[in-house]
Amino acid sequence: MTPSALRPATLPRPASDAAQPAALRERLASHIQRRGALAVLVLMAALASATSSTFPTWSNISSILGNNAFVWLLALGMTFVILTGGIDLSVGSVYALGGVLGAYGAHTGGTWLAVVLPLAVGALWGTAQGLLVARARMAPFIVTLAGLLGARGLLQALTNEGATTYLVPADSAFRRLGDGTWVPVLLVAALFGSGALLLTRTRFGATVTALGGNENAATLMGLPVARTKVLVYVLSATLAATAGALGSARLGSGVTTIGVGYELTAIASVVIGGTLLTGGSGSIGGTASGVLVLAVIHNLIDHYFSQYGSAFTDTVNGAFLAVVVLVQTLLSRTRQTD
């Protein structure tokens, strides 16, 4: 064999020419995937503002933002879980549990207990779920389904099956946390901002994304896979319990019947926000757009279709979700074939 057999001196580089349009298409696809929800949000808000006199009023906007802000924290935690390729079905129940614990804490021990108790129970709940997923290698779906039932059961036991309602004392400082529009919105915005920083600018965040993208590779690269998995479930449950506690501060009592199905809304927000349900790609900003899109749809249906009742809200949400996932699938197919 001649030494130059594997070393052709001058080779054309056909790849570079063909790569340009492909890269452009791929960039466009990835932009639509990541920022599609934001575009839809802006479009809907613009259309609604143009056609309705009530939509752009402060009272309407503050009702969109203020009433549900805490529930959006469920989607924040869910983003991390879904990014690892997992799922957390327990957040709705943990949200309700956090609410009761918050009210119970404010009722018996004051503001500090109202804050600490839900945080601690949420963190413990998440640790248990995380260990079962990461160490015992159980399916996240099953573990958190058990968590959904378990947390709801614990809630029933704490409240004597709903017979006992804990009230947050009217003079408690705890109530300030849920008051008005600005406090909840700023609180939630700050948490989303911290979440975004955590995801994009820390090793933990990089590991979360890597883990969802290719768990095998993450393991072989020596990343702390199991620890990170436990931590995302801790984060999710803690945020859910915190959200519940803040909700009880707003409502003034621990309501046992709320939170049913919230996990599904959270999942929907995350997916609409462009995070892949299979993990490995997504953003906190996308999730923020996702929750707002769902909130605006809800609000618009209340506005325009109030004569039909709000019964159609979930149908529209469902249809919207289906369209988003369809577009995601088509986009990722475009990117793969490049």
Binding site: L6, L11, A18, A23, G205, T209, G222
Partner: protein
Amino acid sequence: MVQQGRAPRSDWILEVAEVDKSFAGVHALRGVDFRLRPGEVHALIGENGAGKSTLIKVMTGVYRPDAGRVRLAGEDRAFRNPLEAQTAGISTIYQEVNLVPLMSVARNLCLGREPRRFGLVDVRAVNRIARETLKRYGVDVDVTRPLGSLGLGAQQMVALARAVRTDARVVVMDEPTSSLEPREVETLFSVIRGLRSQGIAVVYVSHRLDELYEICDRVTVLRDGAVVHTGDMAGLERLKLISLMLGREMSTVRAKGATAFGTGQHGEHGGDGGHEAAPVLRATGLTVRHKVHDVGLDIHHGEVVGLGGLLGAGRSETAKAITGALATDGGTVEVDGVPLARRSPAAAIRAGVVMLAEDRKTEGILPNLSVRENISLALLPRLARAGVVSGARQDEIVRFFMERLRIKAAGPDQKVSDLSGGNQQKVLLARWLCLDPKVLLLDEPTRGIDVGAKAEVQALIDELAEQGLGVLLISSDLEELIEGSDRLVVLKDGRAVGHLRGEEITEQTVLDTLAAAPPSEDLRGEDLDGEDLRGEAPAPHPDDHPAQAQGRPTAPAVTKEEPR
């Protein structure tokens, strides 16, 4: 270059001594000794199942040996996981790129060791480091793009850049060139030469002999879990190397009769050299990027066409490309003169081309179902009338094939996973035969089954061909291939490098064909043509390969060259 002669003990950077490793009672490694000097490129070669990957995994902390020692720089080490081996200075580049495709190139490169400012990852520094590092590897890309958007070769380079850190003492490369373009191979080699000059030892696993001769200093050959040769690469003849891998002594070409194949030729075309009749299957210009290059073959009624070559030569890929199980970048397949328009296994089955997959467990049997269900599964659509399957008809067919193929089972309702490997293989054969195919593609039909069952399967292949079935036989068992085939197409690095027929098919000619035919410049150049033609079906190159385009056999290319 490396010092010749015996190095003193302390000079080994990595020593694997008397290592045993078995899985479920099967010995994967038996008393393996493997020693690595600093600054040498050491080839590790062997056929499928020789124990290469097990040895690599022992060295890199994925497996722990049952017995024996692993010593790094003279110290006994027992790595519990890949991370410990990495920290100790053993980096590995896996055959499959093991990175995260959705993350950016830069993040992949720095994952787990990102530079931080004020506790947060310094994204700008990450990107800068990535750009600078990759430039040294000849990769000039936007590092903020997702890794998955890069070509496989560039991804492999990123994996390489990630693995080769300043503190690496040993770099293990498992078939690093399997997805590289020639230009990238050259970059890889210059990187390897750089490592060598820095005193870093490289373990280089590849099936491409030309590469081994170009880049490697020494070689260790594994066969059946044991080391059969260790020595300098220079001065080792290709033919010797291949016979070491395959376990054949050149002087002792055994007499025929060790397999159950008949010695006669099959079908109406046997031995007379005439191929007037149209082939039942004709494949031309099959191309699968990085795997198969412009391979063409004809199979006539009643003919067993063997597909030979070393591991990684593209044998299975060629068969899969024919059925459509593997997406092709070019080439056509005709069955009885009718081209297959849609390429999918389902379309191939409808046209009468069926394939017995190599991996019985993952691509074949449904372990929890019965023999009956496993046999009749593919047939069900044809048995059904208005969607209802006739149980009686199904039973009749299943019983027929169980008797015909002498499947030893308690009855049609026995779970298939309870059967022996040989009988499972027969069940799979029955599954395809009951579809009444025209062409049967067999990928390693006798691997992992006992001697008796092996002979039965071989006799069956013979019998089926005599009845007019066209058979493509892929086998790593050289004896089986030589005695079973009427014609033999030899593949090397995804190209057909030899066509043998009839009496020409001997161990000597096959090994000669494998050892000869180094890739020439113009053949290498075709890779780039292929890139231009991606998406279109490239026309076959009748000028380049007149013989294969027309399915005519040629004498083997025994242009043996000077051994180095």
